[in-house]
C-alpha cells in the first residue's frame, strides 16, 4: 500500500515537474543580471516544480573561453562570455540536491548558440521524465480530476466577475488578468511588511474591491457617460492592462516570489491524494461561488443586477439605480478576481507580475465556452477549461501544451454553438 502511494505521488510530481519548465519557457523570463561586466551572457533559472535550486554548478566553455558559476538563492544563474558564438553548457549533476535529476531527454552538456540578443537563455528541466503513465491510470485520473476541478473553480472566480462586468456594461475587460495579479501581489506585499497572514488576505481582498471601484469611478463610468463605444473601451482596457502589468513589475520586480505556506505535502483522502492548499482552494472557491450565485438569484440586488444585464434602459426606467449596480458589480468583480489571484498563486505556485495575464485567455475561454454574459455559463465553462487543462496530460498530451487544448476547444465550440453552452442566440449577432 505504501509503495502504491509512493508511486502515485511520484507520478504526480512528474506531471508537476514536466509542467514547470513549460510555464517557464512560455513566459518571458526575467533576465538575471550577469555576474561579470562582459557584454554577453548565458543565463537561466533552475527550478524543480517551481522551487528554486541553489548552489548548483554550471560550466560554460567554447571559443577558448571557460567559465563557471553556481546558481543563486532564487535559482538564477548567469555566465558572462566575451563574444557571441556557440558555447558548451554543462550542468554539474553531482551538485544537484539529493533526489533531483535532470528530466529525460535533457541534453547535458548542451550547445547554446547566441541569437540576436546579448543574453541567451537556456532551460534545464528537472524531474524523473515523462513516465506519467507508469502510475495507476485510474488513480491518476481521479487525482487530476480533483486538481482540474480546483483549478476550474479558481478560474471561475475570475470569470464570474468578468462575465458580470460584461453582462452589465458590455465591456470585454482585458485588464482583468491584472486584477487577478493584484490580489496575489498585495498578499505578498502586506505579508512582507510584517502583517499577519489572515490580515494580509483580508486587506488584499479589500484592495481588489477598491481597485474595481477606482477603475469604475475613475475610468469606465466617465467613458460610459461620454458614450464611448464598446470597441474603443476594449482597446482602452488593453492599454490599462499593459500599464498596470508594468507598474506591478516596476515595484514587484521580475522574480517569482512565494506566499507563506506555499509548500505543503500531499495528503491522502480515500482514493484521492491532494495537497492541502489545493483542497482549501477548492472548498473556498466553491463556497464563494455558491454565495455569489445565491445573492444573484435571491436578493434584491441580484435581481437588479440581472435586470441591468438584460436591459439597462428598462432597468433604469423601473427605478433601478444602474450606476450603483454597475459600481457594486465592479467592486465584486475586483474582489473575486483578487481571491482567484491568491488561489492561483498557491496553485502554480508562486507570485509573478504576469501571473494574471497568463490565465487571462483561459478566463476568456471559460466565459466564451459558457456564453458571454451569463454568470452560470462562466462557472460551467471555467470548470470545463480547468478539467481539460489538467486531464489532457493524463491522456498523453505533452504537458507543455496543456493550455493549448482548452483554447482549441473554445474555438471549436464557437464553430458549432457560437452562443456558448448557456448563452442565448440573440447575443451572438
Amino acid at each position: 500500500m505504501l509503495k502504491l502511494i509512493g508511486a502515485i505521488s511520484a507520478s504526480i510530481m512528474a506531471i508537476l515537474l514536466v509542467a514547470a519548465p513549460a510555464s517557464l519557457a512560455a513566459s518571458p523570463s526575467p533576465t538575471p543580471s550577469p555576474s561579470t561586466a562582459s557584454p554577453f551572457s548565458i543565463s537561466g533559472f533552475l527550478r524543480n516544480a517551481g522551487a528554486p535550486l541553489a548552489d548548483v554548478k554550471i560550466n560554460v566553455s567554447g571559443g577558448g573561453f571557460e567559465g563557471s558559476t553556481t546558481s543563486g538563492q532564487n535559482g538564477s544563474w548567469a555566465v558572462g562570455v566575451p563574444e557571441k558564438g556557440t558555447y558548451k553548457v554543462e550542468l554539474d549533476e553531482s551538485t544537484l540536491p539529493e533526489g533531483i535529476k535532470l528530466a529525460d531527454g535533457q541534453e547535458n552538456p548542451r550547445d547554446v548558440v547566441f541569437g540576436g540578443t546579448t543574453t541567451q537563455g537556456t532551460v534545464f528541466a528537472f524531474g524523473e521524465g515523462i513516465v506519467v503513465q507508469q502510475g495507476n491510470f485510474g488513480q491518476d485520473l481521479i487525482n487530476r480530476l480533483v486538481a482540474g476541478l480546483s483549478f476550474g473553480l479558481l478560474l471561475a472566480l475570475a470569470s464570474v466577475g468578468l462575465s458580470l462586468i460584461f453582462g452589465t456594461t458590455g465591456l470585454t475587460n482585458f485588464a482583468h488578468g491584472e486584477m487577478v495579479t493584484l490580489g496575489a501581489v498585495l498578499v505578498f506585499a502586506f505579508n512582507a511588511i510584517g502583517l499577519p497572514f489572515w490580515l494580509a488576505i483580508v486587506l488584499a481582498l479589500l484592495g481588489g474591491g477598491l481597485s474595481g471601484y477606482i477603475q469604475d469611478a475613475g475610468l469606465w463610468r466617465p467613458l460610459r457617460k461620454r458614450g464611448t463605444g464598446l470597441v474603443p473601451m476594449m482597446i482602452v482596457s488593453i492599454g490599462l492592462a499593459l500599464a498596470v502589468r508594468y507598474i506591478i513589475q516596476f515595484y514587484f520586480g521580475g522574480a517569482t516570489q512565494q506566499l507563506p505556506y506555499a509548500q505543503s505535502a500531499e495528503i491522502q483522502l480515500g482514493p484521492i491524494s491532494i495537497s492541502p492548499n489545493n483542497l482549501a482552494s477548492l472548498v473556498i472557491s466553491a463556497v464563494v461561488i455558491v454565495i455569489v450565485g445565491l445573492v444573484l438569484m435571491k436578493s434584491r440586488l441580484g435581481k437588479a443586477t440581472r435586470a441591468v444585464a438584460d436591459n439597462p434602459a428598462l432597468a433604469a426606467a423601473s427605478g433601478i439605480d444602474v450606476d450603483r449596480v454597475i459600481r457594486i458589480v465592479w467592486i465584486t468583480g475586483g474582489m473575486l478576481a483578487a481571491l482567484g489571484g491568491i488561489l492561483w498563486a498557491y496553485y502554480r505556485p508562486g507570485v509573478t507580475f504576469n501571473m494574471g495575464s497568463q490565465i487571462l485567455l483561459l478566463i476568456f475561454a471559460g466565459v466564451t465556452l459558457g456564453g458571454l454574459g451569463t454568470v452560470f455559463g462562466a462557472l460551467i465553462g471555467s470548470i470545463i477549461v480547468g478539467l481539460f487543462t489538467e486531464l489532457t496530460t493524463v491522456f498523453g498530451a505533452p504537458a507543455d501544451l496543456k493550455y493549448v487544448i482548452p483554447l482549441g476547444i473554445m474555438i471549436i465550440v464557437l464553430l458549432i454553438r457560437p452562443q456558448g453552452i448557456l448563452g442565448r442566440r440573440e447575443r451572438v449577432g
Partner: protein, 322 residues
C-alpha cells in the same frame, strides 16, 4: 548626458528594419480594423507564422529564399482562412478573443518540446538568413554610415513597405475597397445590395494576415534568429498602439505610427538612461527605466483611444466605430 547620440539613436530607429516590420504588420491591422472593422488581436500570431514558416522551410526543407518566402506567405494566408471560418459570422469581440487565443496557440506550439527538432523549442531557430544576404549586391563598405548588410536589409524592408502601402492604397480606392468600407459602416446595408459580406471579410483578413506574415519575416531576418517569446500578445498590443497613433483608416498612418512609436521609445530610453547615469535620477534603476517605457505605452494607448481615436493623420469620419 550626450544628447546628440541619444538623438541620432532615436533617428536611426526611423529606418530600422524592426520599424519596417512594425509598419508592415500595422498596415495589415489597418486593412483588418481600419478598413474592414475586423478586430484582430492576433497579429503577433500572423507574424510568428510568417517568421517560422520562412525559417522552418529554409532550415528543415532547405528551400531557397524565394520559395521559403512564398511558403511563409501561403502559411499566413492559410492561418487567416482557418481563423476566419469560425469567427467572421460572429460579433466583433468573438473575433478578438479567437484571434488572440490562436496567436497564443501558435506560440505554445512552436515552444513545445515535442517538436524541438523542427521549431527549436524555447531557444528558437537561427542561421536561416544566409540565402537572403547571399543576394546582397552591395560590396563591403560604408553606405551612409551603415555596413553593406545593414544597408541591404533596410533597403529591402522599406521597398517592401512602400510596395505594400501602394498596394493597399490602390486596393482601398478600387470598387472592392469601397465595398469593404461599406461593410465597416453597415454590414446589413451592403448585404442587401447582394454582396457576399462573408467573402469580402475573409479576403480582407487574408490580405492583412499576409502583410503580417511578411512583417514577421522582416522582423526576424536582421536578427538572424526567431524566438517564441518575441511573439507574445504584447507584440500585438504594440502594433495596435502604432496603428492608433498614426490613424487606422489611412495607408501612411500605420507607417508613420510605427516610426513615432520607436522614436519615442528610443528617446525615452536614452534620456532615462542618461539621467540615471549622470545621477540626476537616483530613484530609478535601468531595468525599471525599461519598464517605465512600457507603462508609458499603455497609458499612451488609453489616452489615444479616449481623446484622439482617429490618430494623428486619421479622419474622424472614417472611424471603424462610432
Amino acid at each position: 548626458m550626450d544628447f546628440s547620440s541619444i538623438l541620432s539613436n532615436a533617428m536611426g530607429e526611423i529606418i530600422s528594419p524592426t520599424t519596417a516590420a512594425y509598419a508592415l504588420a500595422a498596415l495589415g491591422l489597418a486593412v483588418h480594423f481600419g478598413y474592414s472593422g475586423l478586430l484582430n488581436f492576433g497579429q503577433a500570431g500572423f507574424m510568428a507564422v510568417g517568421a517560422y514558416g520562412f525559417a522552418i522551410s529554409t532550415l528543415t526543407f532547405g528551400a531557397p529564399f524565394f520559395v521559403a518566402m512564398l511558403i511563409a506567405v501561403l502559411c499566413s494566408a492559410l492561418f487567416a482562412l482557418l481563423l476566419g471560418i469560425p469567427t467572421l459570422r460572429l460579433r466583433a469581440d468573438y473575433l478578438a478573443i479567437v484571434t488572440i487565443a490562436s496567436a497564443e496557440i501558435i506560440r505554445y506550439l512552436v515552444t513545445t518540446n515535442g517538436w524541438t527538432a523542427v521549431t527549436g523549442s524555447a531557444n528558437g531557430l537561427a542561421a536561416f538568413e544566409g540565402g537572403f544576404y547571399a543576394m546582397n549586391p552591395f560590396p563591403e563598405g560604408s553606405y551612409m554610415g551603415m555596413s553593406s548588410r545593414d544597408f541591404f536589409i533596410r533597403l529591402v524592408a522599406w521597398i517592401l513597405v512602400a510596395a505594400c502601402a501602394v498596394l493597399v492604397f490602390l486596393l482601398m480606392r478600387s470598387p472592392w475597397g469601397r465595398v469593404l468600407k461599406g461593410i465597416r459602416e453597415d454590414e446589413n446595408a451592403v448585404r442587401s445590395l447582394g454582396k457576399n459580406v462573408y467573402a469580402y471579410k475573409m479576403q480582407a483578413l487574408i490580405i492583412g494576415g499576409v502583410l503580417g506574415g511578411l512583417a514577421g519575416m522582416i522582423f526576424t531576418l536582421p536578427r538572424g534568429a526567431v524566438q517564441p517569446t518575441n511573439y507574445g500578445t504584447e507584440l500585438t498590443f504594440f502594433l495596435w498602439t502604432c496603428l492608433l497613433l498614426g490613424g487606422m483608416a489611412t495607408v501612411l498612418g500605420p507607417v508613420i505610427g510605427a516610426m513615432m512609436f520607436w522614436v519615442v521609445l528610443s528617446l525615452t530610453q536614452g534620456i532615462l538612461t542618461g539621467l540615471i547615469d549622470s545621477g540626476v535620477v537616483s530613484w530609478l534603476t535601468t531595468t525599471q527605466a525599461g519598464q517605465l517605457r512600457y507603462i508609458l505605452v499603455g497609458v499612451a494607448l488609453m489616452l489615444l483611444m479616449i481623446f484622439r481615436p482617429q490618430g494623428v493623420f486619421g479622419n474622424k469620419k472614417e472611424l471603424a466605430f462610432a
